[in-house]
């Protein structure tokens, strides 16, 4: 199913730097285009919560470069490439408040 058949899809973010379409040779899924955004009744039925708004707030305040160490770890890279089957499905980053998980921005 080609998402372009849903012209009223809504994307989020500032439309500027992130959340581009992820493409491969013949099909495209825009990770943030939710085709049901034009079905508000169904969206409300599923949940009153909309985490995309929060994501936008958080990312606007984020400092470039902060947290990049995580992306370079072998754990993250392996997780992202889906190594380790079901046993490697969950990546848990833990820390006390203030160590960078939460308050560094």
């Amino acid at each position: 199913m080609d998402h372009t058949s849903y012209p009223h899809s809504v994307s989020f973010g500032d439309g500027n730097v992130n959340c581009n379409n992820i493409t491969n040779s013949n099909n495209t899924v825009n990770v943030n285009k939710i085709i049901a955004d034009e079905n508000p009744e169904i969206m409300r039925w599923l949940s009153p919560l909309d985490p995309r708004r929060r994501h936008q707030d958080v990312r606007i305040d984020r400092l470039d470069g902060v947290g990049n160490w995580l992306l370079e770890t072998s754990e993250f890279q392996g997780w992202r490439r889906s190594e380790g089957g079901a046993g490697g499905a969950v990546l848990f980053c833990y820390g006390d408040p203030g160590v960078g998980k939460t308050y560094l921005r």
């Binding site: 169904i42 994501h55 305040d61 470069g65 380790g84 990546l91 848990f92 980053c93 833990y94």
Partner: protein, 195 residues
């Protein structure tokens, strides 16, 4: 503001081209909304973000129409929600779910939430879950998943970046000297990160 690491991971997944199609769903737990952030509402919010393909939406639409006909209209239960999520995740080639600050959800919801995710993962082992939280939720996570864990400690580089930004934003620039600035950027990151 919470959630920086999670938002970085989400943006990274969004930005960097992947060999296969991916769909990303996120959730930021927040103790201020903990009453509303029930397991079913959280799972529903995740499912909403996975409605990126016609066949996934059609399935949900059918369930919605069916629920509307039933007495009381809306009786969506957690097993129904999990079932719809299973179907959505199985339909999409690759799904990433990022959940921030798991410790901020109510304890009674935590195991239920993790159990629901495990249930979905059982049918779609290629799904990938990124979770952040305080150390005390590690025990719960280990009870449910065999997960890979990364401890987060203060990083001198990150603290320096943060201080630089704060110093730039300082409204009383006249009180700052190059010498003092250099001292702040040297001493504080060293002390906090213990390097």
């Amino acid at each position: 503001m919470a959630g920086n690491l999670s938002s970085l991971v989400i943006d990274t997944l969004c930005d960097e081209p992947c060999e296969e199609e991916i769909a990303i769903a996120m959730f930021y737990c927040d103790f201020r909304d903990k009453e509303e952030q029930t397991t079913i509402n959280v799972m529903g919010a995740i499912l909403k973000q996975l409605l990126v393909r016609g066949e996934v939406l059609e399935h949900v639409q059918k369930a919605f129409q069916k629920a509307k006909k039933e007495v009381g209209g809306r009786g969506l239960r957690l097993p129904d929600m999990v079932q719809m999520l299973k179907q959505a995740v199985a339909t999409l080639p690759k799904v990433f779910i990022c959940i921030d600050a798991l410790d901020e959800c109510l304890p009674k919801n935590l195991l239920e939430l993790l159990g629901s995710i495990k249930d979905i993962l059982g049918e779609s082992p290629r799904m990938r879950i990124f979770v952040t939280g305080r150390p005390q939720v590690e025990a719960e996570i280990i009870r449910v998943f065999t997960s890979v864990t990364i401890p987060i400690s203060p990083k001198a580089h990150d603290i320096k970046r943060y201080l630089e930004k704060k110093l730039e934003m300082d409204t009383e620039q006249y009180a700052m000297s190059d010498c003092l600035r250099a001292d702040i950027l040297r001493v504080i990151p060293e002390r906090i990160s213990g390097m």
